[in-house]
């Protein structure tokens, strides 16, 4: 009887803990959404209100009108989309080679890739900028794309995944005269969908949200992404209109949530599979 009670206590504690952790993660989101629907006067109240007295949907329109938001949005989509597509083009063959081929210098090359993903962008931005300026690219979207088409973390993760795919399947395909290209297409990609979805999501979130890199690489509104457009809503001095800024942030975050909903099934799978093996 006593052990039974203890079990319930533990389960309850577990739920409480989960609820607490959930609150920590969800709290800023709720606050953001709440603020995005308040009036200026209401954002200044202390302690802050949770439910806006009368939801101000106009805040979103006002945020959108503050700049060329369609251009920002298009730039964000193009940059993030191009990065992900190009990353996959490079990452999949690279990971395949590292996982299934034997060639001289393999360990050294792989080590260099691992090193690449340990260097923060802030260290390399000046040389990269100078290079891009030399090539005359600073007025285009390319400086936001080119440096990221090789995804070291992705190559690493995908290689681990590819290594788990049995050699026999590949051998069998080779016996059937399948080209390496076909093996990648018909075997490796379909069997590693969860890993690909995970990498795509991580890559999407980090580049969609990137502020620093686009700021230093671009000089005009025409090539800037949404993050910079939203940063521009903030006053340099004086009192910021938090309700407008938060409306902008909601607009920024919605695509991430959509992509997450779209990818989440595969991501959960990725972790379940790697757990079994």
């Amino acid at each position: 009887m006593k052990t039974f009670d203890l079990k319930i206590v533990w389960t309850m504690l577990g739920y409480l803990l989960k609820a607490a952790v959930l609150m920590i993660f969800i709290f800023p989101f709720l606050w953001m959404i709440s603020t995005s629907l308040q009036t200026f006067r209401e954002t200044m109240t202390f302690p802050p209100t949770w439910i806006p007295a009368s939801p101000q949907w106009g805040n979103f329109a006002e945020a959108m009108q503050a700049g060329p938001f369609l251009t920002y949005f298009r730039n964000s989509v193009v940059v993030t989309g191009s990065i992900i597509v190009l990353q996959f083009l490079i990452m999949i063959p690279a990971a395949y080679a590292f996982a299934k081929y034997k060639f001289p210098g393999k360990t050294l090359l792989f080590g260099m890739i691992l090193l690449a993903f340990m260097i923060p962008g802030q260290v390399t931005f000046i040389p990269v900028y100078l290079m891009m300026a030399d090539w005359g690219l600073v007025k285009t979207l390319l400086p936001q794309i080119i440096p990221f088409i090789s995804n070291a973390f992705g190559i690493f993760l995908l290689r681990q995944y590819f290594m788990q795919i049995p050699e026999e399947i590949i051998e069998a395909a080779r016996l059937d005269n399948a080209s390496e290209f076909k093996i990648i297409r018909k075997i490796m990609i379909p069997m590693s969908k969860p890993a690909l979805a995970t990498i795509a999501l991580f890559s999407f979130v980090s580049h969609w949200n990137d502020y620093f890199w686009p700021l230093v690489m671009t000089d005009s509104a025409a090539v800037r992404p949404l993050t910079l457009g939203i940063a521009m809503l903030r006053e340099t001095e004086g009192i910021s209109n938090w309700h407008i800024i938060m409306a902008g942030n909601v607009i920024l975050v919605v695509p991430i949530l959509l992509v997450y909903v779209f990818c989440s099934k595969h991501i959960v799978k990725a972790f379940v599979y790697s757990g079994i093996k």
Binding site: F40, R41, M44, T45, F46, A66, T71, R74, N75, V78, V79, G81, S82, V85, L86, L89, F125, I126, Y129, L130, A133, D134, G136, L137, V138, K139, T140, L141, L142, I145, R185, K186, L215, V216, D219, S220, A221, A222, V223, L228, A231, M232, L233, R234, E235, T236, E237, G238, I239, S240, N241, W242, I244
Partner: protein, 438 residues
């Protein structure tokens, strides 16, 4: 399966195509280096000189700046100014350093006043003196209190633009309830602030005065107590040995101990003190003039501004940014025309000042009917201008940005951790001397 693969390929090509034309298609500058534009501009605008202008204004002020640029372009057929927001003041500085090094800098840039010396010292700013003379403008045409960061090595390297200053914001309703007068000295401030404190149990329900976590306010108080931030020959601090620094911090700690001063946490301190002031949780606030517009529309009490209280003298630093021309600019005549128009013409800077609430920076502006009307309607704004008579900027040195971080550490040690004041200031002094000697 096959069709899927082709879809993927076409998506890739589409993205690459978009990426490639995204920049060139929409940007009106065909050349890779800004400033080289205009040589062969595409479609229509024949022979227009393009002037790149970088600024740090977001939000409403950013919109006012965009409107200013549009007014300029509409009134100038042969020049097109392209204004670009480059992040905060600090981020703009980082961008400028990187752009100047790679020769992709703008023609004209906004520069936070405390950074002017750093760039002037690197000799990348154009001396504006001949341009002023050519346009028949004298340095005396500008508001004297705002020229403290403009001249270096006898060169006029920047002109005031969006300038602010700290002032005292007062909840007059609260003061009136208790029959208190707006304080004009440190002594009066102490009395009034203490009288405003409401304490229930061990919890403060209301404080007397507050200020954001910033070096600006301690620097103001150092000058008020008869000190300077750097000494005359910039080898050390000018508030150590004469006791001004110790006096100022002792005064603040004394206020803090009775709840007369609420010193906010470092993170987001400006927003915290603003909302406390609006909510009547604090009676008075040291804060930038830049907040007047926002506060006026947010408060529901009698809100007035006043000079920062004096100790030995009235004194206040200035803030905000100047405008400067880069010596690497290839369109200096056009760049100067933009600066001249912005500084001197009525539809240029004056309109921007009226909208934004920054300080009028020329004497002509101050005398203009529009400013006089505004001041008659909003006396709070006039106070800030009047206080400029006592403006003094004593934190001028190339090493200021570096020393600023050390000063923040000293402020934190004293205001948050109640460390010994003389010992902390001594450490700060030594550190400053070390940095200045480099």
């Amino acid at each position: 399966m096959k069709s899927k693969w082709y879809t993927l390929l076409s998506v890739i090509m589409l993205f690459s195509l978009l990426a490639a034309c995204g920049g060139g298609g929409t940007s009106s500058d065909p050349g890779e280096a800004p400033g080289s534009g205009g040589t062969e501009a595409p479609s229509g605008d024949k022979g227009k000189t393009t002037v790149q202008f970088w600024h740090s204004l977001g939000g409403k002020n950013g919109e006012y700046m965009d409107a200013l640029i549009q007014r300029f372009n509409a009134s100038h057929e042969d020049i097109e100014v392209i204004g670009t927001f480059q992040g905060s003041y600090d981020e703009t500085v980082t961008k400028l350093q990187q752009a100047i090094a790679s020769d992709t800098g703008p023609d004209v840039s906004m520069l936070e006043r405390a950074y002017v010396q750093m760039f002037a010292d690197s000799e990348v700013l154009e001396d504006l003196t001949p341009y002023l003379e050519g346009s028949g403008i004298s340095v005396d045409d500008f508001t004297p209190g705002l020229m403290g960061h403009s001249t270096f090595n006898d060169q006029l390297v920047s002109l005031p633009l969006n300038r602010s200053t700290p002032i005292l914001h007062v909840n007059k309703t609260l003061l009136d309830e208790q029959g208190l007068q707006i304080p004009t000295t440190w002594e009066e401030l102490k009395e009034v602030a203490n009288a405003l404190v409401v304490k229930e149990g061990s919890e403060y329900k209301r404080y007397g005065v507050t200020m954001p976590y910033d070096t600006w306010y301690p620097i103001a108080m150092i000058s008020q107590a008869g000190g300077t931030f750097f000494n005359d020959d910039n080898t050390s601090i000018g508030f150590g040995d004469n006791g001004a620094g110790a006096k100022m911090f002792t005064y603040l700690k004394d206020l803090q101990s009775t709840g007369a001063l609420y010193y906010p946490p470092a993170q987001d301190s400006g927003n915290i003190v603003n909302s406390m002031f609006v909510e009547g949780k604090v009676g008075m606030m040291y804060q930038s003039t830049g907040s007047i517009g926002g506060l006026s529309s947010a408060v529901d009490f009698d809100y007035v501004t006043a000079f920062l209280p004096k100790d030995e003298v009235y004194a206040n630093p200035t803030g905000g940014a100047n405008v400067t021309m880069l010596s690497s600019s290839k369109n200096k005549e056009a760049a100067w025309e933009f600066i001249r128009w912005m500084e001197m013409e009525e539809e240029g800077g004056l309109e921007f000042i009226l909208q934004s609430g920054y300080l009028p920076f020329t004497k002509k502006m101050v005398e203009s009917e529009k400013i006089q009307e505004l001041w008659a309607k909003e006396p709070n704004r006039k106070v800030a201008y009047d206080q400029l008579e006592f403006a003094t900027d004593t934190n001028k040195d190339v090493a200021w940005p570096e020393i600023m971080h050390e000063f923040f550490s000293a402020m934190e040690a004293i205001m948050y951790d109640s460390k010994d004041i003389p010992a902390t200031l001594d450490t700060f002094k030594k550190e400053t001397e070390r940095i200045l000697a480099q």
